[in-house]
Amino acid sequence: MAITTLWDVAYFMATALLGLVGRIIPPLAAPLGNVDLIWGLAALVFGAILLAASMINTIMLIWFERKMLGRFMDRRGAMHVGYAGLLQNFADGLKLFRKNTFKPRDADGLGFYAGPTAYLVTSLLMFGVLPVSTGWSDGSLPLSMLLALVIFSFAPLFIFISAWSSNNKYSLIGGMRSAAQMIAYEVPILLAVVAVVVVSGSFDLNTIVNEQRNFWFWTLPLTLAMIVFVTGMLAEMERIPFDLPEAEAELVEGWNTEYGGMLFAYFMLADYVRALAGSILIVLLFLGGWTLPSYVPAALTSFPLAGIFWLMLKTYLVFGVFVWIRAALPRVRTDQLLRIGWMRLIPLSLASVVIAAAFVLVKCVPVLGCVPSMGG
């Protein structure tokens, strides 16, 4: 059987595992041959592989940011743990795992533990929805994009819960800022996505990616939407210049002030999981996902794992831009942030919807010689 997708890998591993058990304990061989059981185990294996891959990528993303930030600042960043500090984040994670777990005396027990956990789990759910490459990760639900955005917008709830239950004023202020900010930026993000939907005619991320082979028709109407979306994503990810909830200068560590040890590691990890997922989402929606424009030579897209390669390359480039922004821009203030969100981005996103609709109406700009292939 040819192994071409991640599902095939998972199915193969499940079959092999169950077969091995059946070989060792012959009476179990028949019940273990059940197709449903094999598929169930395959789903577990699939999830485990996905989880491992996304975790490793997240940790590499942190390494990437630290090194790149170091270079922007005339220094080197982590150097001494592993080659070029590659193992630094693993050391950090293991250390946090080993640290004493504690709860401040007056903190609310349930919220204090459940908040970070739910935050991390919901963030990781994103990877179940985002398609990575053709056949590699099953995101081909008819409304996968909506689902992705819904999962993405869980975060403020859990941040606020953990901030409130840690019984610290800084945490509380940080949590409130976080909630206000994320709610304000949900709207322009969704409107920008509407522009994408209008052009692609689908809520399915796979369809959206495949539509983008039509390069010019995609780029021209959606540039504005992309700017809005990226700005909104910066706020959703709470990165500089919109990292007010964690604004170190005034709020100590923001909503995770009272967290240490493993729970803090959850926050740290979830932040970067969201950064990774957000970057992938930007790539999928606007930068062609795992595809390249149709005029690019086919040799570039035909080698094994080409889709994942191109997707991750683009993702890291997008994230690199975020790091660059972090190294170059100061933080804005809460009122300025909300003003940017409500008064600048929302009109812009509405305009992007109008532009996209106009392009779809004329179907095509003849001078560019593109062929309309729209579904809607």
Binding site: L94, F102, F264
Partner: protein, 206 residues
């Protein structure tokens, strides 16, 4: 309105010892509520049985030659100091994170919240007024944790040793693992101190 007389005009020579606080007692400020008690998970919260089982397992593994070096390696290579500047040495502390010395190469990243720190670098003179805050910060740090006394003031009072308001050495307040001499120590000395602490952790097998 007549002049208000000052409370204590010209007291007799104060009795020896740095007297701070009412009645000239030892300088732990007892009527201050800024002490923070930290109740750890071990006490009664959150699945005590599971926690016990896990810690038993970890303890068992801790004796083994397999897991323990890994955690030791992780612990010593990722020391997060508390972002706290006390006095002069804080400037050199900051310089150690500058471009020339770049302490982040060794995985040393300052965090602002004591909850997320492993390392308290006492970089300057500790006065009796700040002593209990320092202890509170130390107690807010989760175990395992270490203390570096940076500079002469933190080590033994330095040039202000005789002053009425200065703690003659931070080891009176918290246990110190590494002392760094200098007034202030150069950033190299701080990095050396951190590396010595790493060696100490490796030896002690914390």
């Amino acid at each position: 309105m007549s002049a208000v007389a000052p409370a204590a005009p010209l007291p007799a020579a104060p009795k020896p010892g740095p007297v701070v606080g009412p009645g000239g007692e030892l300088p732990v400020v007892t009527n201050d509520v800024t002490f923070v008690e930290i109740e750890t998970l071990r006490s009664r919260e959150f699945l005590p049985a599971a926690k016990e089982a896990l810690s038993a397992m970890l303890k068992e593994q801790g004796e083994s030659k397999l897991i323990r070096p890994v955690f030791n390696w992780a612990g010593r290579n990722s020391l997060f100091p508390l972002h706290w500047g006390l006095a002069c040495c804080a400037i050199e502390f900051a310089a150690a994170f500058g471009a020339r010395w770049d302490a982040e190469r060794f995985g040393v990243v300052p965090r602002s919240s004591p909850r997320q720190c492993d390392l308290l670098i006492v970089n300057g003179t500790v006065t009796w007024k700040v002593a209990h805050k320092l202890i509170a910060l130390y107690e807010q740090m989760p175990e395992p944790k270490w203390v570096i006394a940076m500079g002469n003031c933190a080590t033994g009072g330095g040039p202000f040793r005789t002053a009425y308001s200065v703690v003659p050495g931070v080891d009176k307040l918290v246990p110190v693992d590494v002392y760094i001499a200098g007034c202030p120590p150069r950033p190299e000395a701080l990095l050396d101190g951190i590396l010595r602490l790493e060696a100490l952790i490796r030896e002690r097998g914390e």
